[in-house]
């Protein structure tokens, strides 16, 4: 157990104070990508419906600040001789539709499930803590643990068709849910491993109407998501026609 996770264990036992967000009893754990000043925060999801054991989930969707450290080697990592790395990195995209919505603090988007998963594996190697993508059950557990979002609160908590004005918004700029998470619903829909073993995106996005923005909302990838990739073979890392796709991380410990 690392020093840091030992601290969290102590915190769970109530022996040291949590860092606290706005929400009551909110348990969060900060982390930093080594070699950078890029930080992010994981929030605690208690065991319960859909989650046999407690776990940690990203308080926000993964941002460009985080994802680009991986894509562009902004941690100063050099390419090893022969180019073989523990985790292969996405190609540098020719252009990302939707990237103009915003950069610092804005959700990374248009990446494939493979790209999102590779980021989690890379971050695990980088930090020594095991990050991964959520399962659909975990994602729904976290979503519903944040207290059922009603139509009344949706407008304050989510960037969707009625509120988003056709673009993503800076993570953390809408209201937190009951366990301190931002943008579980709306902004970018989020990659998870689906119950049927096929990756799906959850929660709806800035493009979806209110009826399609909830904890159960799910969509699988279609060919249209990369129809306009002008290259052949098409990129396995980027989805040029899916600026509504992003992800967030989970961690077991």
């Amino acid at each position: 157990m690392t020093t840091r996770s030992a601290q969290y264990a102590l915190a769970l036992l109530g022996l040291v104070p949590w860092s606290r967000g706005i929400a009551q009893n909110l348990a969060t754990a900060p982390d930093t990508i080594p070699g950078t000043v890029v930080s992010f925060t994981m929030a605690h999801v208690p065991a319960g419906k859909g989650a046999a054991a407690p776990f940690w989930i990203g308080q926000t969707e993964v941002t460009w600040d985080m994802f680009e450290v991986f894509v562009y080697r902004l941690d100063g990592a050099t390419q090893p001789p022969g180019g073989v790395e523990a985790v292969s990195r996405p190609s540098k995209p020719y252009v990302i539709p939707g990237a103009q919505f915003g950069h610092q603090g804005f959700p990374a988007l248009s990446m494939s499930y493979a790209g999102a998963e590779a980021f989690a594996r890379w971050l695990s190697v980088k930090t020594g803590r095991r990050y991964r993508l959520p399962t659909e059950a975990e994602w729904e557990a976290a979503c519903s643990a944040g207290a059922a979002t009603t139509q009344a609160t949706l407008g304050a908590r989510a960037w969707y068709w009625d509120t988003a004005e056709d673009r993503t918004h800076r993570t953390g700029s809408a209201q937190q849910d009951g366990i301190g998470l931002y943008d579980m619903l709306g902004n970018v829909a989020e990659w998870v491993m689906g119950r049927d073993g096929v990756p799906v995106i959850k929660g709806g996005s800035f493009q979806d109407e209110a009826k399609d923005v909830d904890c159960a909302a799910r969509r699988a990838q279609t060919p249209a998501w990369r129809a306009s990739d002008p290259q052949l073979p098409k990129s396995r890392w980027w989805l040029p026609d899916a600026p509504f796709v992003g992800f967030r991380l989970v961690r077991d410990q």
Binding site: V69, S91, V95, Q100, L232
Partner: protein, 437 residues
């Protein structure tokens, strides 16, 4: 001339093409099949990801297309392309082994094949040569952008554009925004006065860096530079020419003209490793159009920086991004378009061939390419340059007779030092020694 051609002329012409006589001095189109959807045979020159994708898009864009010949400098790129096409275009793939050509003369062999239409998708360095040869051989053309990297190449392309016009050949360029119905509708409205007189514009291609190709042991200078072509002015034109030409093309489209002159700055600030050749990583250019309107352009390839690709125009009575919306006196919001412009450009090209009314975008895309070259040279030299002086310049970055051997890398341009008139590997022409006293 086009309209006067008869069906019999076409058949005679195709017979000439079939026996493989290239470059008739005043040749006529190989095959124009007005008013039907007869088979169109396509050759691909430049089998990278974009060329292979363009072949796929051509097949997707029109009925009764066959890909019949492939050419590339390198065996490995050609093999990858064959594999992808076999998997992706089904029976439209009709390339036999004896119609796969590699080496520096592969383009000539593709053009000597029995094809009606050729896709030109090599790195930009070779485009003027390939355009000239394709038009001389009487082929219809889909050409990727940019169409040249230097004024000497632009003049060759202008000549090819005129000859294509005389011969009734269709030429469509990979500036796919011209084939996006939303750009078409928005810009038509701008031309009809939806935002009044257009006073200024801003165009952007800001993003992170792109792939590089690492040099392998024993690889010659020329092979490495061609494989790593993004990073040499002679092979890509620099990123302002290679990428940002798209947005500059939109500016010229909206303004209905090419710029008269440019003032610019730029540099190589972050991406300084020699693995990235000698090109800049950012430019900012002010273009002045003949009516006095200014368009400011910026383009950047720096990792981890804010990204934006697009255009915006400001008129006396409103603003517009030239595609999605018009705000002001006559507001407009674009409908959702499912149409893929990368496919539509081929649909339009083939339809024009079959209708006997060949579109010819070559001069237009050459002007947009020269717009980008004008901005680049204004930045490289640090001088305000006019369209005419750049067009007339003796700057010649054409590859010439290439073989896999040595090739130096020009120094990084230095504003205030680098001259427009310069040899391919220097800053300025050598000056005569001062006479001895």
């Amino acid at each position: 001339m086009t309209d006067s051609l008869t069906r019999r002329d076409f058949l005679q012409t195709s017979a000439i093409a079939a026996v493989g006589l290239p470059a008739l001095p005043f040749g006529v189109p190989s095959l124009i099949r007005a008013g039907n959807d007869d088979l169109i045979r396509v050759g691909l020159i430049g089998c990278g990801g974009r060329g292979t994708g363009a072949a796929r898009d051509c097949v997707a864009g029109a009925a009764n297309i066959q890909i019949v010949a492939l050419g590339d400098l390198f065996d490995d790129r050609l093999d990858e392309s064959r594999k992808e096409l076999v998997q992706n275009i089904g029976a439209a793939y009709q390339v036999t082994d004896d119609h796969c050509f590699t080496g520096f003369d592969a383009y000539q062999k593709v053009l000597e094949s029995r094809i009606d239409l050729v896709i030109l998708a090599t790195p930009p360095a070779f485009r003027p040569i390939h355009l000239k040869a394709a038009v001389a051989a009487g082929k219809h053309v889909f050409t990727e952008k940019p169409v040249a990297v230097c004024p000497t190449g632009i003049r060759m392309v202008f000549a090819a554009a005129d000859l294509a016009q005389q011969k009734g050949l269709a030429v469509v360029a990979g500036t796919q925004r011209r084939h996006d119905p939303l750009y078409q509708e928005a810009i038509k409205r701008l031309h009809d006065g939806a935002i009044g007189a257009v006073l200024s514009g801003q165009v952007y291609w800001n993003q992170g860096g792109l792939w590089k190709y690492d040099r392998k042991p024993g690889m010659s200078d020329v092979e490495w530079q061609v494989r790593n072509w993004l990073y040499y002015t002679w092979s890509s034109g620099d990123h302002i020419v290679e990428q940002h030409v798209h947005n500059l093309d939109v500016a010229n489209w909206v303004m209905g003209a090419h710029p008269a002159r440019a003032l610019a700055m730029g540099g190589r600030q972050v991406r300084v490793d020699p693995a990235y050749g000698h090109i800049f990583d950012h430019f900012a250019v002010e273009y002045e159009y003949p009516n006095g309107a200014r368009v400011v352009s910026m383009c950047r390839q720096q990792d981890g920086t804010a990204q934006y690709v697009g255009e915006r125009f400001v008129g006396t009575e409103g603003t517009s991004d030239a595609r999605n919306s018009i705000r002001g006196k006559q507001p407009w919001k674009a409908p959702v378009s499912e149409l893929n412009p990368y496919v539509q450009e081929h649909t339009d090209l083939v339809a024009s061939i079959r209708a006997g009314k060949p579109v010819n975008e070559l001069r237009q895309v050459a002007e947009s390419t020269l717009t980008a070259i004008l901005g680049r040279e204004a930045a490289y030299t640090g001088q305000q340059l006019t369209w005419e002086e750049v067009l007339a310049s003796d700057l010649d970055l054409l590859p010439g007779e290439l073989s896999f051997g040595e090739r130096g890398v020009a120094p990084v341009p230095q504003p205030g030092v680098t001259q427009l008139s310069r040899p391919p590997f220097g800053h300025s022409r050598p000056v005569a020694a001062a006479p001895k006293p």
